[in-house]
């Protein structure tokens, strides 16, 4: 009898806890557009104009509150951080973003950090016997799984009729790829900088890259996403972040040489390396992002939802994710509204 009672009490407590799970835990703000105590931003080591804003105090000024920046090595790590509600804003590739939206992680896309061109490339060793994608079967190829590079590689194989099971595909982080390349353990890799430049320097040849794939309709990009609840609660923070990005791209376009030198210093690489990397990306500015190619004129009807939906559908076909939601969901979780607001100031 006692045992039964205990079980019932525990059950009741758990149901009560579960019932109010997911509710707003923060006390109600008096002003609608107040600022949060702190914003946590997840970033990756990519060469984009965003780096120009990483000086001390700059983000604090734009966002109006304390800012914590956390470094991540891959989109999959950023997704995990969103799943555990550890970050509010994050930089993430289009394919991991499609996964995140398909699994209801609660974030929306609100800025293109860059469109990936030759910045991600399939590099093969000169003596590996790989001249085109069709030579990949039987070869050892490395790429970080669940990244835009992995996505591009899968698409490249699919477009060329190569069965992925016939290729010895290794899931490796970029620096492990470099070590394996040097040891001769792999024949090719689809990866980005800084490792990409090292592979070229070590006798690598480009087989294809994301710019070529984009021409064939396989668009990959790095996006900034924001927790949708957070953005609704603190629209000024979202707008402030976008304004910072708009200013960053404008600053970059005004004086490319100075900007590149500053970028190089921020992540501690040589200016020539930064210059080479910058050539592999496209950085659309505020006005361009409000065009049909990205978010659309009103911030609601751009191509972004299609890019995300296509990525998700492809991943379902590969068996990487179970299902992809309708395009309506991707339209709901991508918005240029903060760009519109920031541009209208």
């Amino acid at each position: 009898m006692k045992k039964l009672l205990t079980v019932l009490v525990v059950l009741a407590m758990i149901l009560a806890f579960a019932g109010c799970g997911g509710g707003d835990k923060k006390p109600a703000e008096k002003k609608q557009a107040a600022a949060p105590e702190k914003v946590t931003i997840g970033i990756q080591t990519l060469v984009t104009p965003e780096l120009l804003m990483r000086e001390k105090g700059v983000y604090e000024k734009y966002l109006g509150c304390k800012v914590d920046m956390v470094m991540f090595n891959s989109g999959a790590d950023v997704n995990r951080a969103f799943a555990s509600k550890s970050i509010d804003i994050g930089m993430i590739g289009t394919s991991p973003a499609a996964i995140g939206i398909s699994t209801n992680l609660g974030y929306e896309v609100f800025w293109f950090a860059d469109v990936i061109g030759a910045a991600e490339t399939l590099v093969a060793k000169k003596d590996s016997g790989i001249k085109t994608i069709k030579d990949l079967p039987g070869k050892r190829v490395a790429t970080p799984f669940a990244s835009t590079a992995h996505f591009s590689l899968q698409n490249a194989m699919s477009l060329n009729g190569v069965d992925p099971a016939s290729v010895k595909l290794f899931d490796m982080q970029p620096n492990d790829i470099y070590a394996a390349w040097t040891r001769g353990d792999i024949d090719a890799a689809y990866v980005w900088d800084p490792v990409l430049s090292k592979l070229f320097a070590g006798g690598g040849v480009s087989i294809t890259d994301s710019a070529e794939l984009a021409k064939k309709g396989v668009v990959t990009a790095d996006l900034f996403v924001i927790n949708k609840e957070f953005a609704t609660k603190y629209p000024n923070v979202a707008k402030g972040f976008i304004k910072a990005q708009i200013d960053a791209v404008n600053q970059f376009n005004k004086d490319k040489k100075a900007a590149v030198a500053k970028l190089a210093k921020t992540i501690d690489i040589k200016p020539e390396e930064a210059e080479a990397q910058v050539k592999g990306f496209i950085y659309p500015d505020g006005k361009e992002q409000l065009s049909g190619q990205y978010f659309g004129k009103d911030g609601k009807s751009g191509n972004i939802a299609n890019i995300l939906k296509q990525s998700a559908d492809f991943l379902v076909k590969q068996g990487s994710i179970k299902s992809a939601p309708d395009i309506a969901v991707f339209k709901e979780y991508s918005t240029g509204e903060f760009i519109v607001r920031a541009m209208n100031e």
Binding site: K3, V7, V10, L11, I14, L15, F17, A18, G19, G21, G22, S74, A76, N79, R80, A83, S84, I99, G100, T103, N104, L105, A142, F145, A146, P164, A165, K168, L169, F170, D171, M172, Q173, D176, A179, A180, R183, D185, I186, S320, I321, K322
Partner: protein, 259 residues
């Protein structure tokens, strides 16, 4: 006595059933995200799917992934046992041997395997060798140290008695030292299989294409929490099985322990 045992079993079963019920309610009635806590039915469906349709580019079944992991584990364990036991016993008996080997063992033992694994991959490559070496190192230290202490703990009276009765060094070793240190050797063997097993996931973190640890890590990258749960639960159950096996062997071989 009988009532005590059945009470204990009932309590354990009751506790597990309660947890399953709570899990079911939290995920089916409550509002926890499926990525944070997958539904038990989804985990079961995943389990069946993994057994039948497999996981990964080569569609290896759950069984094949388990076998791949166990192959690495058992080879490494076998190597660590046949090297650490003799070396440990020798080091316990001859202080010179101990002085040579022990500093290295004591140095690398507390270092988390993941910290030096990337070094191993640099030196030995991305194939099976580096994974087996990592598992080997995880198991070598506990066995070695247990054997050393096992020999050192033998009362010097036993050794003196043996020599007095006319036994030579080899006879003393086989008939006194070895049996007397068996309890400690087995403690080391049990610790080692545990350490090696927990290191398995680290070993499958870099450039693995098969294995239960790899499957869990890969599923995590795609937010497939149901597959992660299947993998973690299977690892827990097989871990218990491995420990129980070594314990059973110990009870058979060291039957005098505790008497």
């Amino acid at each position: 006595m009988k009532r005590n045992n059945s009470d204990k079993t009932l309590l354990s079963i009751g506790s597990i059933l309660t947890m399953l019920l709570v899990w079911y309610l939290l995920t089916n009635v409550g509002s926890i995200s499926n990525v944070i806590l997958p539904k038990p039915q989804d985990v079961w469906d995943s389990f069946v799917n993994l057994c039948v349709n497999g996981y990964g580019a080569n569609k290896d079944t759950l069984f094949m992934h388990l076998m791949a992991s166990f192959k690495r584990l058992l080879i490494a364990y076998g190597l660590s046992v046949i090297t650490a036991v003799p070396l440990g016993l020798l080091a316990g008996y001859f202080t010179h041997v101990s002085s040579v080997i022990t500093p290295f063992v004591e140095f690398y033992r507390p270092i988390p395997p993941l910290a030096y694994y990337t070094l191993l991959v640099l030196w030995f490559g991305i194939n099976e060798e580096s994974k087996i070496i990592l598992l080997y190192l995880a198991g070598f230290a506990p066995i070695f140290i247990a054997c050393v202490s096992g020999v050192k703990r033998i009362s010097v009276d036993y050794l003196n008695a043996s020599y007095m009765l006319g036994a030579n060094k080899k006879q003393t070793f086989m008939n006194v030292i070895l049996p007397a240190s068996l309890p400690d050797i087995f403690t080391g063997l049990r610790t080692a299989i545990g350490f090696e097993y927990t290191t398995l996931v680290a070993a499958e973190m870099v450039a693995a294409r098969q294995g239960i640890g790899w499957m869990v890590l890969d599923a995590s990258n795609w937010l497939k929490s149901d597959v992660v749960f299947v993998g973690v639960i299977i690892m827990g159950l097989t871990g218990i099985l491995l420990s129980a096996t070594v314990l059973m062997l110990e009870k058979r071989i060291v039957h005098w322990s505790g008497k």
